[in-house]
Amino acid sequence: MRMPKARGPLSEWVVARLAEGDTYLGGSAPLPADQDDEAIALWTLHELSYRGFEDASDDAERNPVVVVVRHDLESSLERRLRGRWDHADRPNLPAAADVPAELEELVASDDGPSLADHVRRSADVDQVLELLRQRSVYQLKEADPTAWVVPHLPTRAKAALMELQFDEYGNGNPNLLHAHLFAKGLESVGLRSEYGGYVDDALPETLELNNALSMFGMQRRLRGAAMGHLAAFEMTSSLPARKIAQGLGRLGLDGDMVGYYDEHVEADAVHEQLAARDICGTLAEDEPDQVAEILFGAFTCLDLESRVATALFRAWGVER
């Protein structure tokens, strides 16, 4: 994959520095033009820790100048996410034992606009393809941001996360790896399947969602938020996956993409139980100071998904 197109002065600076590698010494980054510029800059910096770019230096990941910019962008993102959570209407913190029930309640009370309902009933082919391009930014590295969290967890949550992740990675069979199933699905509907292929089309909301996932995953301090995010994600997956599979069928987009969503109906019915109880529930018991973080992560998952949905409906001129 090559680095994405810059969207303003900050991302332009980042892309230029990454291409230079270790040959530059300093200089401070320009201010971002807007949230779009900021989001693509951070997405690019995070990607250095996944698969990297063919036109970026391999040394760039730990270059001190780059690390400082990444730290500042993550701090700004985290402040924004926590600001939204602080403003969210929420009751007092539950006891650790009540965390799974609290997650269920949080998910049940989510009233964000539903892309899955739209796909099932009324989306046209162009809208579905646009949604799949947006989703591909994460789905082609599905489960990777969460893999960072394994070493940060106590025994029970660690074993449970591995049980879930093993399934995400195809239970050892590369043909069943979820990101691979999604890549085949993209090809089956006539889209490109290469890793990172549609990043230049990603909405700022899509980038923000991906950046939050990467940040939660990579920072030990944010392990609770990462696992809360995972739980909310899995708990809002199997029913919508079924609706999306139905919508794809309605539009004649049969084949591997339907297979991908069908797989997620059954897989995520398991994963949501593991994530809410065996991962978040035991993490809350073993590390009670993570209760608030788990709920913050879960809220953030629902909130960011809702922002992506709102942005897409706005772009399509669909009233929700």
Partner: protein, 66 residues
């Protein structure tokens, strides 16, 4: 934390949810059909409303609790 072993049952009845089964290779459903199990943990429908029985598809969440 003490280093005692943990409970790790093969079969778990989730509150208001499915039955998780670890390590099964085949499941016979209520109609007598045999299903091969393709994953290490499966969720079996307990609300009887799943569209993919014997597997859970999350439908129990939209059924009012009695």
């Amino acid at each position: 934390m003490s280093e005692a072993d943990f409970d790790h049952p093969d079969i778990v009845l989730e509150p208001h949810g499915p039955m998780l089964v670890r390590g099964a290779s085949t499941i016979r459903d209520a109609e007598g059909t045999l299903h091969r199990v393709e994953r290490p943990v499966v969720a079996l429908c307990r609300c009887d409303k799943s569209s993919r029985k014997p597997w859970c598809d999350g439908t129990h969440k939209v059924i009012p609790r009695r």
